[in-house]
Symmetry: C2
Subunit: 584 residues, 2 copies
Amino acid sequence: MERIDYIDEWNIAENYFSEESLGKLEVNMAMGNGYLGVRNCHEESYVTEKRNMFVAGIFNKFSKKEVTELANMPDISKISVWLNGKRLTLNRGRVTQYRRVFNYRNGESVRSFIWESETGFSVRFIFKKFVSMYNKHLIVTEMTAENLGKQATMAVQSGIDGTFTNTGSQHFEEGEKRYLDNQFLYLQTQTTEKKTKVALATCHKLNKAHQTEPSMKRRQLYENKEFDLLENETVTFTKYSLLKTGQDLEYTGKDYLRQGLIDELNSITRERYRDLLSASATVWEKIWEESKTEIRGDTQDALLLNAARYHLHIMTPVHDNRLNISGKGLSGEGYKGHTFWDTEIFILPYFVYTFPHWAKSLVTYRLKGLGAAKENADLKGYSGALYPWESAWLSDGEVTPKFGGIDVVSGKRREVLTGKIEHHITGDVIYGLMQYLKATNDIEMKKNAFSLLMETAIFWTSRVNYNKQLDRYEILDVIGPDEYKEHVNNNAYTNYLAKYNLDVALRAYAESKNIELKNKYKNQFNIIKEIANKLYLPVPNKEGILPQDDNYLKKQMIDLTKYFEAEEVNLNNSYFSLKHVPTA
Amino acid sequence: MERIDYIDEWNIAENYFSEESLGKLEVNMAMGNGYLGVRNCHEESYVTEKRNMFVAGIFNKFSKKEVTELANMPDISKISVWLNGKRLTLNRGRVTQYRRVFNYRNGESVRSFIWESETGFSVRFIFKKFVSMYNKHLIVTEMTAENLGKQATMAVQSGIDGTFTNTGSQHFEEGEKRYLDNQFLYLQTQTTEKKTKVALATCHKLNKAHQTEPSMKRRQLYENKEFDLLENETVTFTKYSLLKTGQDLEYTGKDYLRQGLIDELNSITRERYRDLLSASATVWEKIWEESKTEIRGDTQDALLLNAARYHLHIMTPVHDNRLNISGKGLSGEGYKGHTFWDTEIFILPYFVYTFPHWAKSLVTYRLKGLGAAKENADLKGYSGALYPWESAWLSDGEVTPKFGGIDVVSGKRREVLTGKIEHHITGDVIYGLMQYLKATNDIEMKKNAFSLLMETAIFWTSRVNYNKQLDRYEILDVIGPDEYKEHVNNNAYTNYLAKYNLDVALRAYAESKNIELKNKYKNQFNIIKEIANKLYLPVPNKEGILPQDDNYLKKQMIDLTKYFEAEEVNLNNSYFSLKHVPTA
């Protein structure tokens, strides 16, 4: 049996439980709404799980030696269940009819199975959950348990668990734990470095008389519910959770968190799971309406396209233009939640041509980052504005780690040079901005972008070297976008992007009617022009190859195929079709 | 089948695997040597495990809002095993002949079982391990795998994992990870607040040709070994680990850690498991020789006594008199590793009468704490020396948390008053000291203790209140040792201990020949004498009851039995035989 079924153009199914590769579907079936993202972990715990929830823009540094990263939130996704004292786990007992279906159209995950224990009971479980697109702070899970066997005592423990970390690094204080009105679990905490407030409130509803007891441990607060699941009985347990932070644009003071959160949760818990899902699905429908896409005759392609679009929407924090897209979206710890050139080059085009106001938010983030980019240029000895290779919070500046992993053989730390010399990011930012302006003719943004165009052009004027012999400007010692080789000269991509940056600045200057601003950049105009005219742009050679840098064609050829033989990779199906790639 | 077998007076056995109550035997079968302590977790991971390792005296504060606590070390106890790609877990496949035997005589844990997977192989595993009493930095685990079925590919991942926390609070920086000489895994880290250095080195030996690859992830470094386990073949995998810190008395500078650790490990790995165990067992044998104990006719009682003695020895950091015993030994996070009056009242007597030099170390800790006790008295508005209710590192002073858990009903934090008013600790310290001096006649210690006796007596003179009407001194507003009621007056235990403290100070003064020191305390002598004479000592009433405080007999009686009915506790077998206890 295949693990994955492509059901139709919106639905994917997992056909059996696989503890050894939980991560794959935790990410592919991740849930979110741009404000927050939750990996699709099973409610019950497994040692191989990676339980992560992130809120866009909640960055923190564990120690001075580390760079800032998206902080893994206190968890609300875990629900522990016992039947006659046996903890529910798909590793024990007999599991049949397992299926998890993820719907990319409305973001709902539905998992069902029958669990028969060693001690003889049999219960069908259905776990449904979604993160709301309608209320960006809301996460809802509904568990249904249908007794197919004899009466059994069922116990459920659920709540808020603040023991989770970023692979061992804890970003939150223990915080304040409350059990309010005998039904609301409330945790208010703050990040250790930035002291950003984060509050979570959770409430459970169970459609049957039962015993409830709260319990608190270090960093954890739970409600424990117990009842008898009668023969043929079906019960429904619903977990409603809200999360808000002191960094939210709507933050109005302390009542925005505690009392505000509890009041809102109180009103939400009067609604049924399906109605809350429906409100969220309506928002999704509008998105799909606005960007109709059809692939005829190939369901799998259509599904994959929809899955990709779904992920673009759940990873993009359009609600707050102080934020941008994370390298791994809001679905994992990788890339620490930092923003790279991927936003402009790979993601922005989708939004520019389908949801220009989403694109606007992403472009605005770069506009707001101009001050930090100027500081960054200054710090690194350049003029104008140099965008950080990795960005986090707007004022953080360059957040690329200075050192990567240890080289296993030499035992030495590898220096990460991307933050130092991968400068095409600045050209990428301008390229993205121009794509947006071309598509939208957003006059307001055009005006605001003038300084950005000039300052980035000025950066390139300070970045180039004049080659007297050839009477041309060159860009030396960079990392190109393929990142194979460090310290290369005249990387074609970088030089062309720099040229583009210089040209659009000149054009903007020529077109601008803002005398005051023009005066400010008057002195630089000629320098920009001079360099734009004489910037070296490598051209294709006789064989039609545009070498990616000065030394590219001098490198020794190696046969790449040998690296793939062992794994029998069919190169024709891989993303590149080169038979030979150069190496040092 | 009972879970526990009492095999003989030194050995206890677990007869089946119980994921729901791992903690019980993680603690009862905990391993250690006073320098470090490791919970007896299974090598393979379970979601219900609590993987802890502590080193005596390595305290750290996660945040300013918390008190200092013993920091959970990077883990070396975990070993992951795969057979034909299936991860070893006792939750899956068929497990037979499971048995874990713990030997309190030599501290060795031996676990064996046959694991047959769903996919058809069958392997007998034996895991043996111990923490060395001979080399206090050494932990050794030996895994034997015997193939009872068909050939299978076996993979083992083992190393050092720094992702573990104190229930979510991380006390260590990520640290420096190294793989040296293609065989030594090395992690050097430091605590976040105190910057105390901690280094771990691990090396694996496998008695069969195999493939090895190192791997590193955030806070983790492993060796991955893979080989074919042939039919009828038995392989042995040994994991040697050393742990040292910058706080060790032997610390001589940076070579004490990295190079020193690797050199030592290199030499240790030439020895076999059984020889290293034997060196450790020899130290244990000396201990049992020195304190022969025999209970005839009741194996279980003898076993329990030996288990208790074993735990006393593994929890007592006799190697370093700057350290004392933790509330939960080195076997868990409870009580945060702090030292309480339990040392003097419950544990010291054992050492005083069997291992006086161990007792000396514990008494010396209190002697060294005199400065902090004087500061503590001063801080709280008293004269002399007031010992902290909870102690950690000598200079930390009072480390009792100011607030406990949240009251579930009121939602308010409960103030912890023990640090404020549970003052009998000072009398307990003196009581312990005197027990030691009486038993040993340690002249040196007696001399050194003079100031301690005087300063603690002076504390009591500042602590009492004079009752003019009755012409007596009273001790008001304390918590007695039973901790039932806060803010009581003239707690009998406290008053008698204070009287004892005053008396021994007077006697020491009278006996001392140190004119200089006597002059120092000359002025206080008469005050101490006056108060010793007139300190109120409650006496038993007509019914022979010595009331534990002034209001004790005025409290309303309640029938305690009703609290126990539900759980059918036989009061005759419980630790107290009162039928009624008073309440507020």
